[in-house]
Chain length 675, copies 2
């Protein structure tokens, strides 16, 4: 790790001089080792590629996809047909040399080496999984200048820091059809993630077909579930991209949707209906009945056969315990078996479940709560509580993966997620203990997303989590990360991801007209409320509520606000610098925007909830303008003026429409500096 | 028809006075009869709906989808759960009264009546198919003003003019995955189309799984085909929306992809590979071998069982005849059986095919070429040659549908398609003959589209074809159509259609940066070359060529150019009117744009092919500015100036990058008027 960090530093030093004319490289995740060289490999429509050695078929289809994406980005009419083991090419621009077919499994070799010289590109890999990663790196290396397209000469030796780099997608709270999963698999592959964790059962939906217990999906899903054929399609699609897929069936809580068809599983009689609200619900499986385990045995056996991956997640989180407390038979069972509390009863349930999961050839994964002294060491702890619990688990001999800090549904900035490391730097683990920390998973919980918005909640922020799980721990420069993230975000669009394009579409619908500029100027600087605050604003969200409002269109992280704040800092350091004019122009735009937005609102009632926040933005911008001009002119603004602005600032901080204005702080900085 | 036309005229008269404060109504297709009334039905989040009478389950799911879309557009937190036959609602805002369950079949009753009063909405229909149409009309009627959302009070009695209102999607030339078909089915339902014609086999791909002859799809598709489970999903999805789905297996030509796995079907020995280029190819089925019919019998039997619709399309177009001419056995067969030419041999093939199709319970549909005196009257002629052939067929007793004039892949303007009527006004058909003209189909041939661009080639222009096939023949006002089309186009976005949103996305990729304004200003006024001209520009397109260039991003119809041309006409009539300033501003923008676009090009080689066309636009705009100012000032510009501009105009008319500049004509008008 240390060695690679030094190489990375060298890169940072050499890059500007070597690539003066080109764009800075935007690789994400940053490779372990990279050395720049002189020159470029320039190519045109005659570019072809060849695969040598022994590879799984996925490398051939992956190489074909890479060629099409290269052609699509460059507009070059490359004429190479589908690449197969029979393909013979003279003078290929890219040679891929692969040692052996890979297996999409935890711990498989994913390393690759890329050597680009003016004569061509060579990609070497032990397995095709590394080969696919190398192809993604190569696509990220595509550069252009006045003369055309090229790859910069360099050499890269790369491999992941952690073997488990996952994205969990909750397809239960809001149903996400297969094409959403597919395009996100493409996004994952682009940033070298290798695990898709499908959260398949919940209070709000049972999202997979069971041929043994069809009432589960038939009555628990409103008709929105994956057929087994679709699951096989998803697994095959993921395997083609070097990604494992494993399922989660959250138990014993979060199980309302099971009980519509099978109320006998529950700890209270029912009847049950599909849950439409969010939170921790009471319905819980009855862990004292043998019939519960008989059904789970058969059902998990069916699922174990469907999913080839050796891991299976049993959830285990957020059991309220209320149904257990209220059920005399359960209480009697606990007394009889000397089970002293609900945590122990759940441990009993887990130990029974573990036998079933093990019998069906799987290793059990569960959330923090499953960690109990009675559990054997071959389970995997999935931590939503934090790195501490992961470190403790590793010390006690358990493998673990981190999701605390990677809850992308909580709308925190990329910088927050980026700096969280699965291995706390001060953890002082032995190498053996450290190896038990397998990696992590970004979690896309789906209370507040729909197929229309989910991509924008996953991307581009998940790309920086992917980097954290792949790149050396020392790669932590936030400015550099944001610069690269913006480029990668645009590249992800070619994989059908809608995280950028649906923004304007949602604004058009909200504005109720083609002209969206005033709404966009406003929405560009608001963000949805973070953590769980969106639920405590006097609004009750149901699964069928509209997720089409300004708060849903707004991006998790306002790049406009971030850029503005940085310009304000520069301006305050050097008021005569170039940022002064940019800031004043921006403030003037915001000041004038409110009147324009009012015109849009006249025919768009759906955005009227933002009227007062838009007015606050205009008022604040006006004050910021005064402050900025005073600072430029070296004037100070009087005490009364400051008092008025202070009130305005406090007002502008208040959330409206479950969003908050992200430029209050930098404008307040200007106002303060002017006094 | 006459009566409704008069009512429509009344509407046009009454509308402005009754709805002075609101937007003009944007219904597409225009209903048969509509009468405006006083007032509005205003609603809020408490809006609910109820279904009464006997309906197929599709009306309940359709009503639920309508409610969610209404909630999505308005941002209102409507709380009604999934609507089922058990749903009981007090005081519903909308009551749907349905007489009987409908059947998704040709000729089913699709009529509905909508009555909106300040007290609420009533939707009456004979079948749920009419009910679904009425719900789409209601969604199009959604209006907003300062006070909130409402539906205008009115009454509508509506039914289609033609029973066959289709869209043909070619999924062979370029593969289009299931989600593309699904979202286009939603678009079709939104404009009341009721037939999806899937073009499933071609020289370039065999796109459906055959369990009896798996080599067809396994070797003929590059792995891109619909499984039978997916076909069932598509059919069910369409049925939910009142849309029939029927397949086309184009024979005996357009069949290369069959022959990779089954060369014995061909009239020449092979071997064959999947065709990668476009045009009329030679490979043709051998109509003289009994083995051909044995395979077709079993294969079509398999497909007949998969598709419940009673129609099956056998293609029959564009057989080059070369393989037949070159095959001695075929020549001997013709001689022996007294078959005098290839057209007669194809008729023999068709008659054999007809027996097979009939045996499997289907009615045969085929392109114009299948019309031969030997054919019985129960086949359906699908006309790509024109309304004349349709009229002739109707006179001779054949049913027919029109696609000539509805070839949306040829990138002609909406106005062109809109004015083409399946029944030529001067045809002088008897009512019986006229009834044989069942309707028409827009055809989305896929040589030049990909999943990324196909929606923009289908929508919004297909909506005006849908109107032609539904609304009274007298509804032909082009300005009114364009005004409504723009609104409907935006509404179609909520159905996941990407026809608008992918434009900016493609520009971002081309520009190789977030800032796309200069590229957009330019691309806004170019259109792809029309008819088949794009193929004759010195560029050879393959199936794997990049369809990501400016020509692919450019919309089929530049609304900017259309609007500009109209302003020029107004300006020339009244040079002191408000259009003068708008025109000059627009011209100034174009003039300045070239320098900006050059900056974008510096890092975007893919758009450099447009450099000279962008320069021509700038030069032309400069000349237009001079002309416009001269006209405003009442000056005339001298003869030499005109000669220079004439040369410039001719230069600017030349296609570049397979696109053409759409503002040459109106600027030339300005230049001419200034001389």
């Amino acid at each position: 790790m240390r060695k690679s960090a030094i190489l990375y530093l060298c890169l940072a030093v050499f890059l500007p001089s070597l690539l003066a004319a080109a764009e800075p490289l935007a690789l994400m995740p940053v490779p372990e080792k990279m050395t720049m060289a002189e020159g470029q490999y320039r190519f045109d429509a005659s570019f072809t590629l060849a695969v040598e050695g022994q590879a799984h078929p996925r490398l051939y289809s992956g190489a074909t996809r890479m060629l099409r994406r290269l052609s699509g980005r460059t507009g070059l009419f490359m004429t190479q047909d589908v690449i197969t083991p029979q393909t013979r090419v003279e003078k290929p621009g890219l040679i891929i040399r692969c040692q052996r077919p890979g297996k999409v499994a935890l711990g498989e070799d994913e390393s690759y080496e890329l050597a680009i010289s003016p004569a061509g590109v060579e990609l070497r890999c032990v397995t095709d999984l590394g080969g696919l990663h190398g192809l993604e790196t190569l696509l990220q290396l595509l550069q252009a200048d006045e003369k055309g397209f090229f790859f910069p000469a360099l050499s890269i030796q790369d491999k992941p820091r952690f073997p488990w780099r996952g994205l969990m997608i909750d397809v239960c709270r809001h149903w996400l059809p297969m094409e959403v999963v597919k395009r996100n698999l493409d996004g994952m592959a682009a940033v070298k993630m290798n695990v898709l964790h499908l959260h398949l059962s919940e209070d709000q939906g049972f999202r997979i077909e069971s041929k043994l217990y069809p009432k589960l999906h038939q009555l628990g899903s409103d008709g929105f579930y994956y057929t087994q054929a679709e699951i096989k399609t998803i697994i095959a699609y993921a395997d083609e991209r070097g990604i494992r897929v494993y399922p989660e069936f959250d138990m014993p809580g979060h199980t309302t949707a099971w009980f519509i068809g099978h109320p006998e599983l529950a700890s209270a009689p029912g009847p049950y209906t599909i849950e439409r609200t969010w939170g921790v619900m009471d319905p819980t499986m009855d862990p004292t009945k043998e019939s519960t385990y008989r059904l789970l045995d058969r059902f998990l056996g069916e699922m174990a056969a469907l999913f080839p991956d050796p891991y299976l997640h049993i959830g285990g989180d957020e059991n309220s315990g209320k149904q257990w407390d209220a059920n005399p038979a359960i209480q009697a069972f606990m007394k009889k078996n000397n089970i002293r509390d609900n945590h122990s009863l759940q441990a009993y349930f887990n130990s029974r479940l573990l036998k079933i999961v093990t019998k069906h050839g799987k290793r059990m994964v569960g959330w923090d709560e499953i960690l109990h002294p009675s559990m054997p060491k071959n389970i995997v702890i999935h931590s939503w509580r934090g790195p501490d619990s992961l470190v403790q688990a590793a010390r006690r001999g358990y493998q673990g993966i981190l999701s605390n800090g990677y809850y992308i549904d909580l709308i925190q900035p990329a910088s927050y997620h980026y700096l969280i490391d699965p291995v706390r730097p001060d953890a002082q683990l032995t190498p053996e203990e450290q190896a038990r920390i397998l990696g992590g998973e970004a979690t896309s919980w789906a209370e507040l997303v729909t197929p229309e918005t989910v991509d924008s909640r996953i991307w581009p922020r998940t790309a920086v989590i992917a980097e954290r799980l792949w790149s050396p721990a020392s790669v932590r420069d936030l400015d550099d990360m944001y610069t690269r993230m913006e480029v990668i975000s645009r590249q992800l669009e070619e994989l059908n991801l809608t995280h950028i394009r649906n923004y304007e579409m949602m604004l058009r619908r909200l504005a109720n007209q083609q002209e969206t500029a005033p709404l966009r100027v406003f929405t560009d600087v608001v963000e949805p409320l973070k953590i769980y605050k969106r639920h405590s604003q006097g609004v009750t969200y149901y699964s069928y509520s509209p997720y089409t409002r300004v708060v849903d269109a707004a991006r998790p992280e306002s790049m406009t606000a971030r850029s503005f704040a940085r310009k304000v800092e520069a301006f305050l350091k050097a008021p005569s610098g170039p940022e002064g004019g940019e800031i004043l122009n921006q403030l003037a735009l915001w000041q004038e925007n409110h009147a324009r937005l009012l015109q849009t609102m006249a025919k768009a009632p759906a955005i009227r909830e933002m009227e007062s926040l838009s007015r606050d933005l205009a008022d604040l911008a006006a004050a910021g303008l005064q402050a900025g001009e005073a600072i430029q002119e070296g004037r100070k603004l009087g005490g009364e003026w400051g008092a008025v602005q202070k009130e305005l600032i406090e007002r502008a901080k208040k959330p409206r429409g479950q969003t908050e204005l992200m430029v209050v702080e930098p404008i307040a900085r200007l106002i303060q500096a002017a006094q």
